[in-house]
Amino acid sequence: MPADLVPLASTSQIERTPSREDGIPPDLEEDLRAFGCKLIHEAGILLKQKQVAVATAQILFQRFWYTTSMKQFGIGVSPSLLFFYPTRTPQFITQDIGMGALYLASKLEECPLRMRNLINIYDLLLQRTSHALSPKTKDPFKYAPMSYFGNTFYDLKDALVVAEMQILKRLGFNVHVVLPYGTLINYLRVLGLTSRKDACARAWGFLNDALQTPVYALYAVPTIVSAAILLASRQLGISLPSAPSQCWWDLFDAPWEDVWSVCGYVMRLYRERAPEERMRVLRLVGKKDVRGWLEENAVGS
């Protein structure tokens, strides 16, 4: 599929994301997006869902935040939710969107999930997150399942269908996603790298890790695939033609600046973080902390 058929965020959407407009700092937005994608990934594994559906969900999730603010959506979307969860916070709803994206992507890829399974898995993942933050974090984690006919289940179920429809509405039903895997294999063949198992595996891994960044909403697939190959080949010390006029990425119509930028997005995922910084995003899943954070933020804006 030609690159220009893939929907990408517009320059204005990138420069000023709705969340940033609402005063959410860019690095916090980035962390929350990455955390949401990680949860989608973990849920996908626990549900034994196909990777195509998981990757599609992560890309839809990233696209969504170019149309919607985490703050505005949290308190702006469904009044019914607010009535039932007066304490429900934007980050909780971020999780709803993640859950909704996975639910929707599974339908798009013709491997639908049962709502109950999906909800239970997300409940488990969020309980595990709160456990990691609780003072008793040294104790072994024990999952407390929700009641089968309890309110929690029905509330989450409502939130799930709302989230799904919100994604469709805000993306204008434009839910076509092009996954990079086929292109990677193609490029590795062209570059004669298929015999290097380590290079293949590493590039494949970078593509998957890139799903936690916004790059699939920003750049065409050939650029992202070239970036994954660049990272893999540099880390393994494999030399590829890189002298001007015969750079290998030119072959794939991938502009160097864009390839380099994608590499930056991916490598930022692995940067050293202070433990406190690392916990910040987890802590924002908790209700009280986010409310506090929002209030502080509201004063600022």
Partner: protein
């Protein structure tokens, strides 16, 4: 409580307050269209004939999806898989021989797809000729019908879309005699590997039009399944009855996919039992062993065509559409270039051109809806209304410009253009599952 909430909201988030208000003013389906009557229903939901309240008063077909069920208890499980797939594909397409989607309206947990209206369909035409007129379809009309059908299919296939459910009831004809391929609920983009048709979805594909590779359990299939279906439709138009009218073997209690013995026999009776000479991959088909146990038949297609198609070239076309080996089967493009279409009498733009007025098929019958709760009721209260997602096609777009200036239409994606997200990013956001708070929340409780 609600009042208090909206007051604090006005201060804390005026944008949201504005949106909530705007959503209350949003128009319901019944405020944009007059429902003229009920056309048909299926597993997906119901179809209505409706007239736009715009000055042009255009006629549309509105397809209302019924909520999906999960398990034994009826619960709302979000948009149905076929609805989302149909919408996602349809919004990208524009071709004279493919039915056009004008807009999608989301309202009170229902999804309405507004299509251009087509007065007739192939099934109705077949019925008209076999029951009322009791004559064969004139060969020029037959040729025009198949030509336009193939023309639409070439478009779909060139856009890498498989229809997967071509049958007379899904192929429409407008009052001006233009063929429109409809119902893309099972259609999908061609990625490899394709999911087996029977996996994952509850939708039933009519077995009479199913290609032999699917009947023999192929895990992979391609565009050739649509070309087989066109051969079946062609034969049905010529003889006014389904050519391979087999009985479908149902899934057993363990959801094992059964061997479709009867359908295969119906095919073999006409086309003969396939051999490895016809189809080199035959012995690798999962159901090959089952197939070998069936009686063998000679090929009698030429004989079958003699009285029904009455043209050597017509016979040649159908023979090639019925090639057992999917790789040898004619593609839609090849079929469109077939000599039969260049022979006199040539296909016409209006398929009914040679048909005298009193032989034209009747207008589509519409009835009063026996399930009045679905539509045609007094307009739903404004607060139930959600939002409208306009599609970036000509006229519908124009209508929306005047109605919803806040919609960011400059970002509407057109086929082939760089699209950014959120073609409705400026659009409705607010009262999703009921603007009036909890009262719109309907959920069946058990226990």
């Amino acid at each position: 409580m609600h009042e208090e909430w909206s007051h604090t909201l006005l201060q804390s988030d005026p944008m949201r307050f504005y949106r909530a208000k705007r959503d209350r003013l949003h128009q319901a389906v019944t405020s944009k269209y007059t429902i003229l009557g009920f056309i048909s229903s299926g597993t997906y939901g119901r179809v209505y004939k409706a007239q736009s309240l715009e000055p042009d008063g255009q006629i549309h077909a509105i397809k209302k999806f019924k909520p999906d069920k999960e398990g034994d208890v009826v619960t709302y499980t979000g948009i149905s898989q076929s609805a989302i797939r149909e919408i996602a594909l349809n919004r990208e397409m524009s071709h004279e021989n493919v039915v056009a989607l004008k807009e999608v309206i989301l309202e009170d947990k229902s999804i309405y797809m507004v299509f251009e209206y087509a007065e007739h369909d192939f099934l109705q035409v077949i019925h008209h000729y076999s029951q009322t007129l009791r004559i064969q379809i004139a060969s020029q009309v037959l040729k025009s019908l198949i030509y336009q059908l193939l023309n639409g299919l070439v478009y779909l296939h060139s856009a890498h879309i498989l229809h997967r459910d071509l049958k007379p009831a899904n192929i429409l004809i407008t009052a001006s005699g233009v063929v429109k391929i409809g119902d893309l609920g099972l259609a999908r983009l061609i990625y490899q590997p394709l999911q087996p048709l029977f996996a994952g979805d509850k939708v039933v594909v009519t077995i009479w039009y199913r290609a032999p590779e699917l009947l023999l359990g192929a895990k992979h299939y391609n565009k050739a399944v649509d070309c087989w279906a066109i051969g079946c439709v062609f034969a049905e138009l010529a003889s006014l009855r389904p050519i391979f009218k087999g009985d479908e073997a149902k899934l057993d209690s363990k959801k094992n996919v059964p061997f479709q013995r009867d359908q295969l026999l119906k095919i073999f009776e006409v086309l003969g039992t396939p051999t490895e000479k016809d189809w080199s991959g035959l012995k690798d088909m999962p159901e090959y062993q089952n197939m070998k146990r069936l009686d063998t038949y000679p090929n009698r297609l030429a004989e079958w065509c003699q009285t029904r198609i009455r043209s050597q070239q017509g016979y040649d076309l159908i023979r090639q559409l019925f090639a057992y080996d999917p790789d040898k089967r004619l593609t839609a493009k090849e079929a469109l270039a077939h000599k039969w279409f260049q022979e006199d009498l040539r296909p016409t733009r209006n398929v009914f051109f040679p048909v005298s007025a009193h032989h034209l098929p009747p207008q589509r019958r519409i009835t009063q809806d026996e399930a009045p709760s679905m539509m045609g009721m007094p307009a739903p209260t404004q607060a139930q209304t959600l939002s409208q997602v306009p599609l970036g096609h000509g006229q519908a777009q124009g209508q929306h410009l005047s109605q919803q200036s806040q919609l960011n239409l400059s970002q509407q994606s057109k086929p082939g253009s760089t699209a950014s997200f959120g073609s409705v990013s400026g659009g409705a956001v607010g009262s999703f599952s009921g603007g009036q708070g909890g009262s719109a929340r309907k959920k069946p409780r058990i226990g």
